[in-house]
């Protein structure tokens, strides 16, 4: 077989291709692939078919081989190839030929006859196979044969024609007859029942294979049930939880349609008509509203907070308030509650009562949206206590007066004024009973009592500063009396008298003043002797001004003093020169009612307090230096720190203002500790202390330390409230004074007593 094939190849390789195409053209009718598979599956049915199939197979295989050969070598096969083929045959069955010498002397292979026994493989060669190759059969039309078998015998043309037809008609059509001719054999092509069935199925577009169920039950390799333990560890695919885009698109289409009004809710036609008729009369409230200019500080209204667990009708138990919390909530004011509701638990939704705050809450929300200004405010989140200056504790600032040591009793009616003499030994007081009393400070013994007036109160007593003389000045109505205490030693007594009498030589001079019109001008004050009765008691000099004097303040040198008579109009403030018995009115007109006045403790400055302002004048340049505005409505008193740069002001509207003269016209610190008007305020001359007294019957002692450091602020520490004086007719402590050397303070009470506090 192998040899035959190879020779065939050798002889006519182009013809093979033709045959092949012919085969192909034939095969196409049946569908090459399908047919082959079917044939293979039925290979066991008949031996005839088998032979054909094998041939086709082998041809195919040869074709493939040949292609390979063509690639490797020329068309002419070598001997080796043949030898190989022989060897292979020999190796299989042993030599099946004998070598003879032919007529030309060449070797000749004489093959032994094939014995057609059962071992021989002649089932394929049952019928003579036409070996004409790829020659069209039409070439043999004029011959009775149609080709040659492999043995060189003529393959005779099968009978055909009318005679045959008749014969055939008479003969029963064999089973499987197709009327087709097998191109390979030229015989009628018979098809078996199975093949016919197959063809039918193909024609009917059915699955060719018998018994194939296209609708077989699904074998669930992957179950649809979700197992607790998934078979696959793969993460859940994203598509499972992504909303469908497609659906979203569809919904959006609908939404768009609804918005554009293309889809309308169904209404009965008659109702629709009615609606169209009565078109609603709506108007836009904000139609002409102007858009706010863009403001970065503007913020939109906050969204309402989403309800939390505690607003549930059945909150978890940890959100439920305890009894104490409920009580506390009920007791606090509604505005101060942290939450506007109390979480409550209902075991079923149908038990939840109606929400009674609903309307209120909505209303408030609306108010909030409508009224609340949405402006961003920069809030400083600072602990207020951290802003307070670190003040030392009062215990560290000792000594300061704490208790009453001595009470001075003797005045009838209230004590209006008091002063401690420069040596610190004696206290002078003046009161409503018109007397000036002198006391030994340390024992409380009354040393002297001088009745200056029977009906007018003594409004002010002040000692002349300086230890070179001991002179007390006392103001009773329009008069200023100067007295020298009797108990001082003769030298001092004489010196004091000399000081008082020194001005008598000048007294006439002051009366020479003339007005512009030439008339004699009334002098602002008359300086005279008070009369023998008073002179015997040590009152040596009297000065009378035009209006009642309320305040006396001495210049530090003891020669000048100023008096203030608030009712005195133009002449309310007067500066007197003791050594010349001269009185001057420095201000032609004062802007306001003069309350009190003081000399600066070291510089030639003069301070005048009107009801609301304190003006500071330079006495040398005669000009206004500055005006302080303590912010009080009615200044009652003020005192200048001995250092000269600070000033403390007391007012009838209960304010105590500390001014730094270098700093500002406004107070450095304002204190309102008294419930009633402040009557007097005084600095200690050496200790860093100051005190004020009030109509509530108390004194307050402050530590007021001023440092030389310009950068450091003065330290003001409230130290002690001294209570003891009784309030009589809404008047408490009228005046205070400090001891010149010790941290002791004396106070004059409206209850007719004075107290020394140590």
């Amino acid at each position: 077989m192998a040899g035959t094939r190879s020779s065939l190849k050798r002889k006519a390789p182009p013809a093979e291709a033709v045959v092949e195409t012919a085969f192909h053209s034939d095969d196409e009718e049946f569908g090459d692939g399908l047919l082959e598979g079917v044939l293979e599956g039925d290979s066991d049915d008949s031996s005839d078919d088998d032979g054909d199939d094998a041939d086709i197979d082998e041809v195919n295989a040869d074709l493939e081989n040949e292609e390979e050969d063509a690639l490797e070598s020329d068309d002419i096969p070598t001997d080796e190839e043949d030898a190989d083929g022989k060897n292979a045959a020999e190796a299989d069955d042993g030599p099946k030929y004998r070598i003879e010498t032919d007529a030309n002397g060449g070797t000749r292979y004489v093959y032994e006859d094939i014995v057609p026994d059962y071992d021989s493989d002649d089932t394929d060669a049952q019928e003579p196979v036409n070996t004409i190759g790829n020659i069209p059969l039409s070439f043999y039309d004029s011959y009775p044969h149609i080709g040659y078998s492999i043995d060189g015998k003529k393959v005779m043309r099968p009978a055909r024609g009318e005679a045959l037809d008749a014969l055939l008609d008479s003969i029963e059509v064999p089973k499987g007859w197709t009327g087709l001719t097998d191109p390979a054999t030229g015989k009628p092509l018979n098809l078996s029942q199975d093949e016919l069935e197959l063809l039918r199925r193909v024609q009917m577009n059915e699955v060719p294979e018998e018994g194939y169920d296209p609708y077989a039950d699904t074998i669930e390799w992957f179950t649809s049930f979700e197992e607790p333990m998934p078979l696959s560890a793969a993460p859940e695919p994203k598509r499972r939880f992504l909303p469908s885009k497609h659906e979203a698109k569809k919904v959006m289409k609908l939404v768009k349609a609804i918005r554009e009004g293309r889809i309308l809710p169904y209404k009965p036609p008659e109702e629709r008509e009615k609606d169209e008729e009565e078109e609603e009369q709506l108007f836009d409230l904000w139609a002409d509203e102007q858009q706010n200019p863009p403001n970065i500080d503007r913020i939109s209204a906050p969204k309402m907070a989403a309800p939390g667990y505690d607003q549930s009708y059945n909150p978890p138990p940890e959100y439920l308030p305890t009894e104490d919390e409920k009580k506390a909530w009920n007791e606090t004011e509604p505005e101060e509650r942290a939450k506007e509701y109390l979480p409550e638990k209902y075991d079923a939704l149908r038990r939840v009562p109606g929400y009674d705050q609903f309307v209120k809450e909505r209303f408030e929300r609306c108010l909030d949206l409508y009224l609340a200004p949405r402006v961003r405010k920069n809030r400083l989140n600072i602990d207020p206590s951290s802003l307070l200056p670190k003040l030392p504790r009062p215990e560290e600032l000792k000594p300061f007066p704490t208790v009453t040591s001595i009470e001075f009793r003797g005045h009838e009616g209230r004590v209006r004024s008091l002063a401690i003499d420069p040596t610190g030994m004696f206290l002078a007081t003046g009161g409503d009973d018109g007397t000036v009393k002198l006391w030994e400070l340390k024992s409380g013994k009354q040393m002297d009592s001088i009745k200056l007036s029977s009906d007018e109160p003594v409004d002010a007593v002040r000692w002349r500063p300086g230890k070179d003389a001991s002179i007390l000045s006392a103001a009773v109505s329009e008069d200023i009396y100067f007295l020298v205490p009797s108990y001082i030693d003769p030298e001092l007594h004489q010196a004091s008298r000399d000081v008082l009498d020194a001005g008598f030589g000048y007294a006439t001079h002051s009366q020479q003043l003339m007005t512009a019109s030439g008339a004699r001008k009334d002098p602002p004050a008359k300086w005279t002797r008070p009369g023998t009765r008073l002179e015997d008691q040590g009152v040596l000099l009297k000065a009378t001004v035009r209006s009642p004097i309320k305040v006396i303040h001495w210049h530090r040198r003891g020669d000048f003093f100023c008096t203030v008579s608030p009712s005195g109009q133009k002449s309310s403030v007067a500066i007197h020169t003791l050594s010349k018995h001269l009185t001057q009115i420095p201000f032609r007109k004062l802007p306001g009612l003069a309350q009190t006045a003081q000399f600066h403790p070291s510089r030639p400055l003069f301070f005048v307090a009107t009801q609301r302002t304190i003006r500071c004048y330079d006495l040398q340049k005669q000009e206004l230096v500055k005006a302080l505005q303590p912010g009080a409505r009615w200044i009652s008193t003020f005192d200048i720190h001995p250092g000269g740069d600070n000033l403390v002001v007391g007012s009838y509207d209960r304010r105590l203002c500390w001014h730094d003269l270098e700093l500002s016209n406004r107070p450095y610190k304002t204190m309102r500790f008294h419930p009633e008007a402040i009557r007097a305020v005084k600095f200690h001359r050496s200790f860093p202390l100051f005190a004020d007294s009030s109509d509530d019957g108390s004194l307050q002692i402050f530590h007021g330390k001023v440092t030389n450091d310009l950068m450091a602020d003065p330290t003001i520490v409230p130290l002690k409230t001294l209570k003891g004086h009784k309030v009589v007719n809404k008047l408490g402590v009228m005046d205070i004074d400090w001891h010149p050397t010790s941290p002791w303070v004396v106070s004059a009470g409206a209850d007719g007593t004075c107290r020394l506090w140590t």
Partner: protein, 472 residues
């Protein structure tokens, strides 16, 4: 039996072991009897009874005893003491027993016309009391509440201003000083027990301020005074040794002094031996060293106590305290001499005047409610003193009773008053918010015979029993 005993213990108070000690030689316990088991609720009286019993001290007559526990007097029961101090009942309590303290019983009052500024007593042969007053007079009293002599008024050669101090130089000589800046010496004679005469012998001028305090040294005839002008004066009592008076300070020195102020003085006028202007503030007290007449101490409101050498009139040392000082008194002290200074800060500071002393303030006596104006040492022992204050009380202090001062008191050693003598004039009256209103005590003297004599604003001399107040 055992059960019954424990029941007894439960019902009765717990037993406390005590150890008795004493520093008094005549009251020593026999050997081996000092340890005792006493019930816890026993008080002073019970303990005193126990000690006076036959088995213990075996005294002929019972001696009332007081007990000091850890420096303080036992006032409640032992139990209370232990509880207060957080001590266990197991501890042995050491009780120092001393002769009992007897309260200073009120004995009588002498009515006066004006505030009494100072008191001096004369004891020994004749019992005389000398009081100075704000009315410018001083008076001599006998023990039966009668005024024997009154100093002349200013028009008759007496003081023209309140007398702040008056002292007996001897039984026949009196010195007085006051706000008229003079010291006057008087010859005092008695015709009988009820009448006496005062004759001025000398007027001493020199101070420019009121004389606040005076101390005398009898044997050397020296007077030291403290003045409110800050000066300390040293004076001689003899006319011959005293220098001439400074003319400018004499009355009438001023040209224009009114005639009423001119005082005809019959007595010779002399000046000081020396005036030491050493204080910047008023001097409040000056005293001699108890043993040395050439050394004096002065206290002042400028917070200082100065030691002066009188022969050279120089300040030897300066002790600075924390408060203005108003009175000064020297104490023998338990171990060394001390100075007691009363302050305006309502306490008494005990100061060691020796230059070698390490700290200024030895002890602080706290309890007064107002300025302490007068201090007098006990004549009987070296550890007690009496003080008079503006709060209207006299307080008796025992220096042996010491406790540690609290932080508010400034630490240090602090003692509290043993007894408080109130003013009899204020008995039954309502107390106001001002301590000692109307009854300030200006002077107090503790004398062996007179007892505790005090006087002040209530115009009364009050005498309290003074002997045996504090146990020896």
């Amino acid at each position: 039996m055992a059960g019954m005993e424990s029941q007894n213990l439960a019902t009765e108070a717990q037993q406390v072991r005590v150890n008795f000690t004493s520093s008094e030689p005549d009251l020593q316990l026999p050997e081996g009897k000092s340890q005792l088991l006493v019930p816890g609720d026993i008080k002073r009286y019970g303990l005193s009874r126990v000690l006076n019993s036959g088995s213990m001290l075996n005294t002929s007559s019972p001696v009332p005893l007081d007990f000091l526990v850890n420096g303080t007097f036992l006032r409640g029961s032992l139990e209370d003491y232990l509880k207060e101090n957080g001590l266990s009942f197991e501890t042995t309590v050491t009780l120092q027993y001393v002769r009992s303290l007897i309260p200073p019983v009120y004995q009588g009052s002498f009515e006066h016309d004006d505030w009494i500024t100072g008191i001096d007593v004369l004891s020994g042969g004749k019992q005389r009391l000398l009081t100075s007053s704000y009315d410018g007079l001083f008076r001599v009293w006998n023990a039966s509440n009668q005024i024997i002599a009154t100093s002349p008024s200013s028009s008759n050669g007496g003081h023209s201003a309140p007398v702040k101090a008056a002292n007996f130089l001897s039984s026949s000589q009196i010195a007085s000083a006051g706000m008229d800046r003079t010291i006057r010496l008087w010859k005092y004679t008695e015709s009988d027990d009820f009448t006496g005469q005062l004759k001025p012998t000398l007027e001493l001028y020199g101070h420019k301020g009121s004389i606040e305090s005076m101390d005398i040294h009898t044997s050397s005839g020296r007077i030291v005074t403290a003045s409110s002008d800050g000066g300390i004066g040293l004076w001689s009592t003899s006319k011959s040794s005293a220098p001439e008076a400074p003319a400018s300070l004499l009355p009438g020195a001023g040209v224009n002094v009114s005639k009423k102020r001119k005082i005809a003085s019959s007595a010779p006028q002399r000046g000081p031996l020396s005036i030491m202007q050493i204080h910047s503030s008023p001097a409040s007290a000056a005293i001699f060293h108890p043993a040395d007449s050439t050394v004096a101490y002065s206290a002042s409101e400028d917070h200082t106590i100065r030691t002066m050498d009188l022969t050279t009139s120089l300040v030897v040392s300066t002790l600075t305290t924390a408060h203005p000082l108003m009175s000064l008194c020297s104490l023998p002290g338990i171990s060394s001499a001390l100075l007691a200074a009363g302050t305006t800060a309502r306490h008494i500071t005990l100061v060691d005047p020796r230059a070698s002393a390490t700290k200024t303030s030895v002890m602080t006596l706290r309890g007064h409610k107002n300025t302490v104006t007068s201090i007098s040492a006990s004549p009987e022992n070296n550890y007690s003193l009496v003080s008079g204050s503006y709060d209207g009380t006299c307080r008796i202090w025992d220096l042996r009773s010491v406790r540690a001062g609290s932080k508010a008191e400034g630490g240090g050693s602090v003692s509290d008053a043993v007894y408080v003598i109130e003013r009899e004039s204020q008995r039954g009256k309502k107390r106001g918010d001002v301590p000692g209103r109307g009854c300030k005590v200006f002077g107090v003297v503790w004398d062996k015979q007179w007892g505790i004599v005090s006087g002040g604003e209530d115009k009364q001399v009050q005498i309290n029993r003074g002997s045996g107040l504090l146990a020896n």
